[in-house]
Amino acid sequence: MAEAKIQVKDLWKTFESSEKSSGGTEALREINFEIWEGEILCLLGPSGCGKTTVLNIIAGFQKPSRGEVLVNGRRIDKPGPDRGVIFQEHGLFPWRTALQNILFGSEMMGRERQESLALADRYINLIGLNGFQNHYPHQLSGGMQQRVAIARILVNQPDILLMDEPFGKLDAQTRATMQILLLGVWEKLCPTILFITHDIDEAIFLGDRILVMSYRPGKIIKEFKVTLDRPRDYEVITTSAYQEIKREILLLLKGVGQNYSSVRGVERIR
């Protein structure tokens, strides 16, 4: 069997607290999973369950207290352009225009100007940013800002995308548009995607698999396979297969007594 693209092995993370006696906050406990090449894996859990910490460790921004992450079989210890990160806050440089933001990665790689521009142009078209090249981030809507952030990452041609609730701050309609856009990009470029969300519908709509995490300490409590056909259309949410998965996840969360109100897309169930 082929090796997984990303292997997360026995990850623990405890945040030291200033008071010695409390021994710190246990954020992650025994996290084990792998992501296969070209797969979209969704990490689903309530706010504060440590899913962002998992992403930060894979991205190389934070170090685990125990355990390790292998990417392409190699242990990672620092951030790198092979793993593009999309944050909830777009993270665009406000002093650069959309185009200049998109060119940033090429500058870091020392690409020729001509080549960088051609590459930027390609992803600007793919992401639907034409006509907005010279806008500064603050002049763009939330959805457009995230598009720039995605294009900026794609220019580096990473084979892994780490997405931390990238559409969490967008309105429902824009979020749906962005999800469809992301699936379109994924079908064209086939990157491996780790997608973090607290929105059950988003996880089912995008993911090949869903890992559900529990709240503090963050543990993976269950894995779901999403067998819905691809390419997926938004109508898929009305199918019985979709409803079945959603029901199972809801029941699972109810079983572990999670706070439903923090899971978006779900009315409080009592």
Binding site: A59, G60, F61, K78, P79, G80, P81, R83, G84, V85, F87, E89, G91, L92, F93, P94, W95, R96, T97, F104, G105, E107, M108, M109, Y136, P137, H138, A149, R152, I153, N156, L162
Partner: protein, 259 residues
């Protein structure tokens, strides 16, 4: 027309009205006393005219401005890299912070005599004082800028392949621009204070010298000329600086418009 009713909303009208009131009060005050004690606007205007005609005013302005701008430019040129390094590298910050925290409370004026002993009566001693005035304000503001860099920007840059040097040049420095510009504007204001004190004690030219020597000859209206020139000069220099920022560095100021 509703012009009369909304006139107070027109900013230029309000400026003009305010100035009008100011000069009326000045005239009224001056009329109740002698020119030696409090000259009227008219006398001050005449003094202005005379000093502009014989070129002495421009001479004083020129030399004061030269000292301020030279010292301010050098001080900023030193303070910005110093602040960036101190903000970014903890070792350098810890090494230098005690001195910055110590010297920033010592007013430049207290160094006037030392500066004269060390650098002589010439321009150097005044320029050095302005450098001293500028450098701490610019450094401290720049450090504050580095400290408040958005960590998501740094993380974004890292995951886009930036190394530490690139982050310093292309993320930290641009994020710091609004802060260091604020520091430079504050430092400009303080430089005016320093130069006047320095010229009062040790100079044979400059606006501070003009104000101080006019006292000896009981030329109160010339003191007013010096004071008013300082105000106008400061206003003009700051306006030019702001204009230049808006022309050349506007994109960096959008930093504050986020969120």
């Amino acid at each position: 027309m509703k012009t009369e009713t909304i006139a107070y909303k027109n900013i230029y009208f309000v400026y003009a009205f305010s100035l009008f009131l100011f000069f009326i009060s000045w005239f009224a005050l001056a009329s109740r006393t002698i020119p030696l004690f409090f000259p009227s606007p008219w006398l001050v205007l005449l003094a202005f005219q005379e000093m502009i005609k014989d070129g002495t005013l421009w001479g004083h302005i020129q030399i004061s401005l030269f000292r301020i701008l030279t010292g301010w430019a050098i001080g900023s040129g030193l303070g910005i890299p110093l602040g960036l390094l101190m903000g970014d590298i903890r070792f350098i910050r810890n090494m230098l912070n005690p001195y910055v925290q110590f010297f920033r409370f010592i007013p430049p004026i207290s160094f006037v005599t030392l500066s004269l002993i060390w650098f002589g009566m010439g321009e150097t001693s005044k320029v050095v004082l302005i450098i001293y005035t500028t450098i701490f304000i610019v450094t401290i503001n720049t450090i504050a800028g580095v400290m408040s860099v958005n960590s998501i920007h740094v993380q974004s840059a890292l995951s886009l392949g930036a190394n530490r040097f690139n982050i310093f040049i292309r993320v930290i420095f641009p994020s710091t621009v609004p802060f260091l510009l604020t520091g430079m504007r504050l430092a400009m204001g303080n430089s005016f204070m320093t130069i006047v004190s320095a010229e009062m004690i040790a100079a044979d030219k400059g606006l501070g010298f003009l104000i101080f020597t006019s006292r000896l000859f009981m030329q109160t209206e010339k003191i007013f000329v010096g004071i008013i020139s300082l105000g106008i000069l400061g206003f003009v220099v700051d306006a030019i600086f702001r204009f230049a920022i808006n022309k050349c560095a506007k994109q960096y100021l959008f930093f504050f418009k986020e969120k």
